[in-house]
Symmetry: C2
Subunit: 317 residues, 2 copies
């Protein structure tokens, strides 16, 4: 297991700068009043391909040698990483193979296909996914880019926190949602170098609270088929992300499904940004655990905005 | 009629800088592909009080002498100007009186009241509104701040275009929605000084096309009770805004209600920004009148984001 370093982050930032947006930081006086804190929203929902995943994916894709790149890249994901990897591969002009369960939402398949990705369907089980991926790798010789448990991906995500610290005048804390832990690991990695006194928090749905339970247990605890509206946060921690989470995260705060939807609506109406449910989990945690953040300057990573406006969680049916 | 000058714009920019956001400019590769043009979205939906109106309102409010300010400000508006004026007045700690028809949407009244504005209800007719306003002005001695036909307001709105030109490396054209014409006049005023070769376009709903008809007729033509989903664009031109529109606007392009809703959804899904229907009218016009903008660099003013997420135009019922 190779642990990425701050030199990897600097290299990543230089490598991906021509490809990704330096996303803006938004503030809202009314949300500050509600939270009793100063909130700085780093808007990765405005990122290429609609989520922070473009950072890690492009760092992996553009870090390949020409010989490696010629064989393409592959991953398993039905979420934003799949889209981001397909997007990055198209930018480099190389093939991208994505293993997806055959019951994945049609819109997600279309998004990957829209970026030119090749979808390999498999049955919706862990063994089937692993078998399908192994088949793709053997057939194509493509480079596997894990959605989060990969030093290139974590170094890429870390560039987001470097920018956030650069765009604000010091923060007491940074909070992000946690699923597999790629973004949170990137924040830990970045802040350890550029802001060692800034605390790192993670936020998680109660109904997918494996990371919070892992932190309490002192070892990775897997969730059992978690069900949550924040569908980007169902993945379990990996060995590499656990390294960062276990050593640097101050706390992992959990919130209910109802609190997530309420926070999502607040971000729509107050920040005027389209966010997916996962992105609302940190604000929900700040509002619920007010005493943790009271009077502090808090960076909030808004992770993505890929949501279907015809299927919003507060719509009937 | 006093025509504001670029000196007024510079004074406005200095005056309002401590109060308003310098809003970001967003771009989207996929919208550029759809439009066949380079689009630069100036996101005033992220502005204080949720719309560009905060610029003109705060310029008027903070330009008052202490003696004038002590008597407060007043206006007639059931839209974003009312909220913005109440917001600016609260920032200065002075009263704000808003004349509104008694059939105005409850959410709009609440928004004004939430900023501390005093609502004076009247019957929904032009004579009733004028009578109610006259009564308020006589009773309080407040300074009247017209929603758009006011040199202080136009100079304030002009700061948006100054920033947009500063944030981009030159633009061939700038387009904004037109109702009463305050924002479009501000753009004309600003560009005449800082970018005389940049063309100004306005966009308007077909169902509220009085400005387009006025431009063709060469005189102000009033609409008759226009009905459109873009409810911020129903107001008629004023003498002062007509001065700018008639002398500087290249064309006024119209779009259907369906095209507005489609463009609004595109801005939600591609730009990830929450916009109100009025703000989608320019993109709808760009997509409809593609040949006008093909291959050009176009600034698009996203005027506001005050929309009820429970009542989106594509929701049933």
């Amino acid at each position: 297991m190779r642990i990425p370093t701050h030199d990897d982050v600097k290299a990543a930032h230089e490598r991906i700068a021509p490809h990704v947006h330096r996303t803006p930081v938004l503030t809202s006086a009314s949300l500050d009043r509600l939270a009793g804190a100063g909130l700085f929203f780093k808007c990765e929902n405005f990122q290429r391909a609609g989520a922070f995943k473009a950072r890690g994916a492009s760092n992996a894709v553009f870090g390949l040698s020409d010989a490696e790149a010629g064989k393409g890249v592959a991953t398993h994901s039905s979420g934003n990483h799949a889209q981001a990897l397909a997007w990055a591969a198209r930018r480099r002009g190389i093939p991208c193979h994505v293993v997806m369960p055959d019951d994945a939402v049609a819109a997600k398949k279309q998004a990957v296909a829209g970026y030119g990705g090749r979808i390999v369907e498999c049955e919706p089980s862990y063994p089937a996914r692993e078998a399908a991926l192994a088949g793709v790798l053997e057939e194509t010789g493509a480079a596997f880019v894990h959605p989060y448990d990969d030093p290139r991906v974590i170094a890429g995500q870390a560039t987001c926190a470097v920018e956030l610290m650069d765009q604000t005048r010091g923060l007491d804390a940074v909070i992000a949602p946690i699923g597999g832990g790629g973004m949170v690991s990137g924040i830990c990695l970045a802040l350890s170098a550029v802001a060692p006194d800034t605390a790192v928090y993670a936020a998680e749905p109660e109904q997918a609270d494996d990371a919070a339970r892992s932190l309490r247990a002192g070892r990775i605890v897997a969730g059992v088929a978690p069900q949550t509206i924040a569908d980007g946060l169902k993945a379990p921690l990996g060995d590499l992300t656990w390294h960062f989470v276990s050593s640097r995260v101050a706390d992992i705060l959990t919130v209910s499904e109802r609190e997530i939807v309420e926070a999502m609506k607040l971000m729509w109406t107050r920040l005027k940004t389209v966010v997916e449910p996962s992105s609302a989990v940190p604000l929900a945690a700040i509002l619920k655990h007010g005493r943790v953040f009271a009077g502090r300057r808090v960076g909030v990573v808004v992770t993505g905005g890929n949501v279907d406006p015809d299927r919003l969680p507060w719509m009937a049916g």
